[in-house]
Amino acid sequence: MSKLQVENVSVSFGGSQVLKDISIHLEQGELVSLLGVSGSGKTTLFNVISGLLKPQSGTVVLNGEEITGKPGKISYMLQKDLLLPYRTIQDNVALPLIFQGMRKKAARKKASSMFEEFGLAGTETKYPSQLSGGMRQRAALLRTYMFSQDVALLDEPFSALDTLTKTQIHHWYLEVMEKIHLSTLFITHDIDEAILLSDRIYILTGKPGEILDEIVVKEPKPREADFALSDAFLEYKRTIIRRLEESGVTGVSL
């Protein structure tokens, strides 16, 4: 059984179609990327998966349960960390647990138990403004994890970080994902990032947003640091750019 299955999802806003017949799936332990140019409806698709938006047609199934149009089952993380500035890190992370009906004290305790794992030890009682961008993203990720346990939806989570921090957080993410048996659906417009992290890549083009192709990145994990410099990497990149250009996306830079 797939962790997450999206089938034949179509969405239109006021007569103009945004998503057309999208079908994707995510298996246990996989990291799958949705790679698309801006305006290809990536974020709309995420809103459908998280239940905030009910599609005109199609279904979303999480762990065998249909959740189409039902929020509260799966949460996501954006480029903006959206940590509440007036809550300490541990209270931010514990928030989804409180929404699920846990008492404040128990929720705090459960949240704090994962701080070490996420490299956040010592930040429990700090406020978001006291943390660096990378740390804040980790806290946001931990909050997502607290909520939906084994499936994470990430919408360009690292694109606001500087290159060095980004590289660090990539490695860290793959490690932690492995450790806590997380499956990830990852939206990005960054081709390199998609190849580096993914097991599979869906190429999404618009408009309306459609799945153009699915590319399997066979490179075994954990991936070597110099994978990004290898011929195999460049070959994947070439393939993706060619596919994008064929579909009418021009000026993709290498």
Partner: protein, 262 residues
Amino acid sequence: MIRKFRNIIRSKGPAVVAILAIIGIWEFLCVSGAVPRYMLPTPGDVVTSLISDRELLWFNAKVTLQEAFYGLGIGIAIGFVFAVLMDMFETLYRALYPVMVLSQTIPTVAIAPLLVLWFGYEMKPKIILVVIASFFPIAVGLLDGFKSADPDSVNLLRSMGAGRWRIFRYLKAPSALPSFFSGLRIATAYSVVTAVISEWLGGFNGLGVYMTRVKKAYAFDKMFAVIILISIVSLVLIAIVSILERVCMPYRHLDDADRQDS
């Protein structure tokens, strides 16, 4: 310690010097005879009457403060209810917001006599006037605050299964705190002044009543004393609001050294 002291001097020093200079010029104008003494008392005269009249002043100040407090309290409550409803129902917002702005163009002094005619010389008309004056900054502050909640955060909380109440409790209400306090500071300053003005137009006790009495007696020194007392009272109240603000929003007053960014 020494550095902290130096910082205080650097930040507050200029203001202190300016105030001392103004008092100095005032004293000079009186002593040099440029302005006759009976029209403008010296700063010393004012302090003297502030001290000699302290019991009477305090008695009247209590009345005025009471009116200001009740009015402010009711104003906060009504402002809160209106802001919440107007935030929940867009139509209500569109209907009432212009009315609220319009109501602010009516000068308080103009309706005070009416209120006295309607509600008598007791505290009631004064409290009502303070409510009218303080309601607006509170309601607008809260409304702006509620609307300042990031729509992305609203969606995120919804995706976590939060309903309307939880979005209010965990996102909208705390997001509104900063602008609520800005509104509260203004409302607090208004409340004292409005209470005084409403007392001018009829009443038995209060700083405003005292003011009209000493005016009729041409006791300029006492006049100045009561004006200074009113500003001291307002300053103290605003300081209390600032302390409250710090207590309610500790995350806004973190040590700069502790911040990664701001």
